[in-house]
Symmetry: C2
Subunit: 321 residues, 2 copies
């Protein structure tokens, strides 16, 4: 059996689900070997501060700062600034904790000083003691916009403010056609021994990453083992509105539907044991399925899933080579 700890892994990541998987991954391979291409489609500017929710969730989770119960924000944070901002007339729909706020203040400060979002993210990670490379997919404008029965909504308006209640009619990744991948993206993909698509919403979280120029076609051409973990188990999203959105877009929420999104490049798909019945159908579209327990309810289960994922990727690779 190969020594997994020598692998270079590059992961495409959304928010909470991805962060849990990655938290396990950094126990299997050293942080220095892990590159994470992060989603910025749900970034927003509030009170003049640049907020990158998905990057922060990954960063806080890997630095063991995250509020474990919610999966985002900082453990035991206070909300005094937000309360005062509300007194100043702001609708405090986006729950910014006081400690969390320091990240947005510092990021905004760095961006104003002329750094790119990638450079600012690297700086934040290093200050938090992280050695992973967390790379925003682009430094350019990229925004996930949801057209719904409640009108045009940015991702966070849909997700947080409206609690995913509006019916989704269509999704647009604004700016994706013009956005250049940030400078580390292709390097990270080229260096990788394994490319992982984390268990994130394939439409809203991985979608914006794949929409950026050249990334999807890189994956299509790549001979590397590319593995994804299904974020849908037994027809339900483990977190977030992936299942609801699939239904609204006329799709059946299932691991098979996720596989369809990735069918042009995916080689191995980690599917929950509860979805063993889908194995045949997924393999019919040319993707090898590995069944395992994908519910990451503890660090040890996160580690196990990361290990299983890498092993599955290597196996398919060895078979193909």
């Amino acid at each position: 059996m190969e020594d997994l700890s020598k692998l270079k892994v590059t992961a495409l990541a959304g928010g909470v689900g991805a962060a849990k998987f990655l938290r396990g991954l950094i126990e299997v391979v050293p942080q220095e070997n892990v590159s994470i291409i992060g989603n910025v489609g749900d970034d927003l500017t509030l009170y003049g501060l640049h907020i990158s929710p998905d990057l922060d969730i990954v960063m806080y989770t890997l630095a063991d700062l995250v509020c474990k119960e919610k999966g985002w924000g900082i453990e035991e944070d206070s909300f005094n600034c937000l309360n005062m901002l509300s007194r100043y007339g702001f609708d405090p729909w986006f729950k910014l904790g006081d400690t969390d706020l320091a990240t947005h203040i510092y990021r905004t400060y760095l961006l104003k000083s002329g750094l790119t979002l990638s450079q600012a993210t690297l700086e934040l990670c290093r200050k938090l003691g992280l050695k992973i490379r967390l790379i925003p997919v682009t430094d350019d404008y990229l925004r996930t916009v949801i057209y719904s029965d409640a009108g045009r909504l940015t991702f966070q308006e849909y997700f947080v403010k409206m609690k995913c209640e509006p019916k989704v009619l269509g999704i647009v990744f604004e700016g994706a056609e013009e956005a250049e991948p940030s400078s580390g993206v292709f390097e990270a993909l080229e260096e990788a021994d394994v490319i992982v698509l984390c268990p994130s919403n394939p439409i809203l979280s991985i979608g914006p990453i794949l929409a950026v120029k050249g990334i999807r076609s890189f994956l299509r051409r790549s001979l590397k083992p590319i593995v994804a973990i299904s974020p849908i188990v037994a027809g339900k999203a483990l977190k977030g509105p992936a299942d609801k959105i699939m239904l609204e877009l006329g799709l059946k929420p299932s691991a098979l539907t996720v596989a369809e999104f990735y069918r042009d490049f995916l080689k191995v798909f980690i599917v929950d044991v509860r979805d063993g019945n889908l194995k045949f159908e997924v393999e019919q579209i040319g993707i090898k399925v590995v069944l395992t327990d994908t519910i990451m309810s503890s660090l040890s289960k996160q580690i196990t899933l990361a290990r299983e994922t890498l092993k599955a990727a290597l196996e398919i690779h060895n078979i193909n080579c």
Copy 2:
């Protein structure tokens, strides 16, 4: 006796001492009748946020939000954001509380949106339910810079970071010659029945206000009752480094020295009863002295001092008219 509550009062104000006096004043005259010309010489930009410490102290004190023990900041505030900023590598020398931070975030947001500092200050005051007019002396660049045996220091570096320890060699109000008074300043001075110089540091707090174009000469020409309250009692500053700085500049820390600073326009000087021995000398330079208790250790004493101050101003006026 005149009805003090009908008076229009315009005050020149620094930080803690001024705020305490003004807190009493708004119990004597309605807030709508009070204009406050505030010092911005100790404003600073930290982490990309515009902070106006003296304006905030006045605002928080009048809105009953201030931390009473310290005289600045917000009562019972937390410091979680500052702790995280410190983890990000900032020296947390300037004690920004989490609730307090909302003011700086909102002010910076308003300034970035194109408002002037005056307009932003008005907005902050109104949102806190205040009806006073708090007018930053200028919307232009004005910074109190201290040349010391530790080099060139901004006011807050001297005052907070270095705890007033360096020896002061000279003081410069950078930008004062070019700074235009903000639009409400002369209107407030012209409308006033009484002009009050609050018990603030005459050099560092009132100094920058008087240095702005046209303000000192307006006071010189004015026939209105102009009254000051001494911030020095029995040779000691009630708050801050006024006494230490006077010594370092070769001056004797006393109410007489304060009177000398204002001698070209001041008509009445409220001096603490403990300094009764100075009455003769101050009156020798043409300023009427009224002795009273100036230690504002409770709201009722703040109110009494405000009432005494207005009465003294009116008396001299009636005598002169």
